[in-house]
Amino acid sequence: MSVYVRPPEVLPGISRRRRYTDWVMCGLLGLATLIALIPLGLILYFLVKRGAGQWSGKFFTTDPNGNFLGYPGGIRSALLGSLEIVGLSTVVALPVGIGVALYLVEYGKASRFAGLVRYFIDVMTGVPSILFGLFIYIVLVLSHIGGTFAAWKGAVALALLMLPIVVRSSEVVLLLVPDSLREAALALGAPRWRVVFRVVLPTAGPGLVTGSLLAIARGMGETAPLLFTIATATGLTASLGQPMNSLPTQIFQDITSPRNAVVDRAWGAALTLVVLVLIFNIVARLAARRSRMT
């Protein structure tokens, strides 16, 4: 507690100008943060406002090939199509991605080859998504392998897009598995492959799941790789060898429609898509947090 007040010469405050600047600049930074949050708020607001009203039983159980007048149809084929296509890409991207990450961590830590691979993976993350579509178009569609447009080809394009995400997140997680664990298993006489499958992968499991969920969330939202690979199909099909619908491509199409009812459907579909993506994101984060607590 102060005994008495001394003249300012002994413990002067800093200049008012400096205090003012500090206050203003920190305030500006806070303001910028608020500004950064506004678009998210606005997007969610309008999604709910214009999209929630579209949700109904009919919305999810009819296909978007309704009549010219009246109800234009729901999003059933788009939703199911998305789930199928992304499901297939996951089946492709996860093993390959985790496999590459395993290579980088278990076998290639210091080699130049591994460094090169890592570099190329980084390059892949920067490739615009539409180029993946173009690539698959050239390699699979133009060459007429198994017909022209097909759902599985779109799935491959998505898998290419998801691959670097899976590799990078898996690599981080696998690196976190302590070497002491590996050494303990090896010292017990276990061969390398057993160490990988019985020790490393299970330990890294939750983290791998998190990374995969995030990659899936990303894949669900992509439109461009699907544009020239799955073709536009509004009817419901289950066959992956045929053109198929998907949520993002359906929304993309609907946006440019002159019919208000179709645009409304786009809002409902967009809300559905965002909810799906958010669910994956939230589950991924919860899984990450849970694994960190063990």
Binding site: S2, R6, P7, E9, V10
Partner: protein, 288 residues
């Protein structure tokens, strides 16, 4: 406490060393309270410091005499670094850490409610264990860093930077490469650079937290000689785990154990005839 009348005009930094100050009416040569460039004493009173729930300093009271070198010794974890960090109110920068009690700088409690922390730190400088010149700044800019904050400019700035560099004995070594990066210097030179940076803003007190532990013996010696010169103008507090160093440089020594002060006495007495048994065991190397 800064009185309301005083804040009605622009509050500005004032150097107590008789150097220039911007935008004030200070008469060069000093102001009323600090007639010349000499340091003020520090008086710690019933200090308690916490890291979260853990109490690291438990009711410590200690006086640091003006213009003297006081060494703080004690085993690892006794709270010596925490203590000095409480003196310039850096302790509270650690998340979850807080301090209670009083620390008087010339009868002003720096823990009083309306005290401006940044002002305290300008008056109580700190030199850290690991030399930490700003990596992106030149030698000149490093020393000038604190001065620029208070608006010192131009020839005035240059003069004070040169003074500081001369005071630490670096001037001869760096005068022709002031624009070279600060981190290009050797460890000992970097630490002297940091000391120059600290004294450039003309503090009252200089706190040194194990300043030589990262340096070689030659550099250490230079800094110890420097301390002897600096004490004429500043009050110096040095934390050290090296008892020989404490014996060499300090006028008085304080021995801490478990967050409390055990004994504080003239250095000679502490090392030759300590009054507390624990001090005696520590300085004779029986523990620590």
């Amino acid at each position: 406490m800064i009185s309301p009348e005083a804040t009605s005009k622009e509050q500005t930094e004032m150097s107590t060393g008789g150097g220039s100050a911007e935008q004030t009416q200070t008469v060069p040569g000093g102001d009323a309270a600090a007639p010349d460039a000499s340091g003020q004493g520090i008086s710690v009173s019933d200090l308690h410091a916490y890291y979260g729930q853990r109490e690291a300093i438990r009711g410590l009271s200690l006086d640091f005499a003006a213009n003297q070198v006081t060494a703080i010794i004690g085993p690892s974890g006794c709270g010596k670094s925490t203590l000095v960090r409480c003196i310039n109110r850096m302790h509270e920068e650690i998340p979850g850490a807080r301090a209670e009690g009083s620390v008087f700088l010339d009868n002003q409690d720096i823990y009083a409610d309306r005290i401006d922390v940044t002002a305290v730190r300008r008056l109580i400088g700190m030199v850290f264990q690991k030399p930490n010149p700003f990596p992106t700044m030149s030698i000149f800019d490093n020393v000038a860093a604190g001065l620029r904050l208070t608006g010192t400019k131009g020839p005035d700035l240059r003069e004070r930077v040169n003074d500081a560099l001369q005071s630490v004995g670096l001037w001869d070594e760096v005068q022709d490469r002031l624009t070279a990066p600060g981190i290009g210097l050797s460890g000992g030179q970097q630490q002297r650079l940091c000391i120059a940076r600290t004294i450039a803003v003309a503090p009252e007190v200089i706190l040194m937290d194990e300043p030589c532990s990262a340096l070689d013996p030659v550099a250490t010696l230079k800094i110890e000689e420097l301390m002897d010169q600096l004490k004429e103008r500043y009050t110096i507090v040095i934390v050290t785990h090296n008892m020989q160093q404490a014996a060499r440089v300090s006028d008085t020594t304080a021995f801490m154990l478990d967050g409390q002060l055990v004994e504080h006495a003239p250095t000679n007495d502490i090392f030759t005839k300590p009054s507390d048994e624990r001090t005696e065991r520590y300085v004779t190397g029986k523990f620590g």
